[in-house]
């Protein structure tokens, strides 16, 4: 498989005076899993809908393989998509749902059973969507996305409602897909899973692209900060700042601070000399979550 490149070129989208997406430019290359991160309302889903041709950009363009979705010969066989797993008619069975998707893709009905089997719904083909759990609807959405054997996958929150076994299955499936040359763009608010899955991350904040880099580079942004906690945190803070450190309060932890510019040994010595007891002292390992929270809290630009 040779996946196609996804390109966003100065994509903006406004609803009246509200700007949902502002001048987003990015290139997503095949052979990797790209995570789309951002708080609620950041513009991730809107950007994905624009890419799929569901919504129209106010300006700019979103292309797959250099062409808009509407110019692709077989859109569903080029791009597999899942935006909202619950967007299935409740009276339709899983098999009936895939039947119309297969027909729209120009695929035979014989493609339905393998697709159901692939996502673990082989025994639920006759079950109406209204009776499927969120996780099962999620699997059905993935079956529809994968049905046309596409080379690009666009998945909005695909991990929602999946059980641990399903998450592992999806992670492995996406990795295999990308390793085979496919292009994966997925959004998720589950940072740990995104860290375990994504090779690259694109971060949107208030509609603006604030980061586009390798996931490991993004996580490393918070590596090295030191967490210290003490019953006398104010005195500890004064002492460390006098020693050349930069400190920052920790949300929901009035007894703790994060310190940069000093190492753990120096922090320990400074606390000892000041007679301030420490109840915690450790170095942050960079995580996607901490980097994401830090970035979206400050709204830092790329």
């Amino acid at each position: 498989m040779r996946g196609l490149e996804i390109t966003f070129d100065s994509v903006s989208k406004s609803y009246g005076t509200h700007v949902a997406v502002r001048d987003v430019t990015a290139t997503i290359r095949p052979g990797a899993i790209t995570g789309f991160l951002g708080p609620n309302g950041a513009g991730k889903s809107t950007t994905m809908r624009i890419l799929l041709g569901i919504d129209k950009p106010s300006s700019g363009s979103a292309l797959v393989g250099g062409r808009p979705m509407s110019a692709l010969d077989a859109p569903g066989r080029t791009v597999g998509a899942m935006l909202n797993a619950s967007a299935v008619h409740p009276r339709r069975t899983a098999r009936d749902h895939l039947a119309w998707v297969a027909a729209a893709n120009g695929l035979p009905r014989s493609s339905i059973s393998p697709a159901l089997e692939r996502v673990g719904l082989a025994d639920s083909g006759h079950v109406r969507a209204s009776r499927l759990s969120l996780g099962m609807r999620q699997r059905l959405g993935l079956a529809a996305a994968l049905l046309g054997d596409p080379s690009v996958l666009v998945l909005d929150e695909p991990l929602n409602g999946l059980d641990p076994e399903g998450i592992v299955w999806l992670r492995d499936a996406l990795r295999a897909f990308a390793a085979d040359g496919g292009n994966v763009l997925l959004s998720s608010h589950l940072m740990n899973e995104m860290q375990a899955t994504a090779d690259r991350v694109i971060v949107l904040h208030r509609g603006v692209l604030v980061a586009d880099m390798a996931a490991s580079d993004f996580s490393a942004r918070t590596t090295g900060a030191i967490r210290a906690a003490s019953p006398d945190v104010h005195r500890l803070r004064e002492r460390l700042e006098r020693a050349g450190g930069t400190t920052r309060a920790v949300r929901d932890r009035p007894d703790a601070i994060d310190i940069t510019e000093l190492d753990t040994h120096t922090v320990g010595v400074q606390a000892l000399e000041a007679g301030v007891p420490l109840t915690e002292l450790w170095t942050h390992e960079g995580t996607l979550e901490s980097a994401f929270l830090e970035l979206t809290a400050t709204g830092e630009s790329r």
């Binding site: 569901i54 808009p68 509407s70 791009v79 935006l83 909202n84 008619h89 009276r91 009936d96 729209a104």
Partner: protein
């Protein structure tokens, strides 16, 4: 277009109960109307002309039209209410193609419903004729066949209008209200006198259908060709409005 049309037809499978209701409504209402003719017309079947009995039976197709309006509205409107339109647009991002497939599928199912309902209504009319001592084959003779075929345009016409309205309003309720309003306006127009009815006749779908069916009163007579042109203009206008809005707006849901 072929794949989009096929997928839209497959989507309609879950609405088969509504289609059966629409099919059954024609002959069922025809039976009720024929059975109550002695009361409503104060004459027995034997005293009524064959054309009167057939035109009374054809009212069953009005009921079929109402049921088809509901079917078309639910079929298209539920795409928006369930959010499935996003998947339809992903698979068929060319909006004119998707619109054409939706309208085509509603047209095909409406024609199918109409053919079966027409056959059932015709059989009811033939039985009523036989009971009244008339020749049952009078149902396919003279003006009677024109009456039945003209009335059979209703389910298809109003089904297509409802489908367009569902695309415009993105809702089942809006589609049903629009199509039923068109039906009801025809019913109340005579209340405002002949001059109003005559003035509205060229744009009235009801006058057009009555003209094609040979049932038009003197104030709404457009002739078969004039009636056909009016109906075609309505479908073209509704389609142009619906496809233009569909092409311009975001996908919804």
């Amino acid at each position: 277009m072929k794949t989009a049309l096929l997928s839209e037809l497959l989507k309609l499978r879950i609405f088969m109960p509504l289609a059966l209701i629409a099919v059954g409504a024609g002959p069922a209402v025809a039976v009720i109307i024929c059975a109550t003719l002695p009361v409503t017309q104060n004459s027995g079947l034997a005293d009524l002309s064959a054309e009167n009995i057939v035109s009374a039976s054809a009212l069953g197709l009005d009921a079929c039209a109402v049921a088809t309006i509901v079917l078309a509205s639910v079929a298209v409107g539920s795409e928006f209410s369930t959010g499935q339109i996003t998947q339809s647009l992903w698979l068929t991002p060319r909006r004119r193609t998707l619109f054409g497939a939706k309208l085509g599928s509603v047209g095909i199912i409406s024609i199918g419903i109409t053919i079966v309902a027409l056959a059932g209504t015709s059989v009811v009319a033939a039985i009523a004729l036989a009971i009244g001592g008339h020749d049952p084959f009078a149902v396919v003779a003279g003006n009677s066949i024109r009456t039945l075929f003209g009335s059979a345009l209703m389910p298809v016409f109003y089904g297509l209008v409802a489908a367009c309205a569902a695309m415009v309003f993105r809702s089942t309720g809006g589609a049903i209200m629009t199509a039923l309003t068109l039906v009801l306006v025809a019913g109340i127009t005579p209340w405002f006198g002949d001059r109003v009815a005559e003035a509205l006749a060229p744009v009235s779908p009801s006058a057009a259908i009555h003209s094609v069916a040979g049932l038009a009163s003197h104030v709404e007579e457009l002739g078969a060709l004039g009636g056909t042109v009016t109906l075609v203009c309505w479908i073209v206008a509704a389609s142009v409005i619906a496809v233009t809005l569909f092409a311009r707006r975001d996908g919804g849901s």
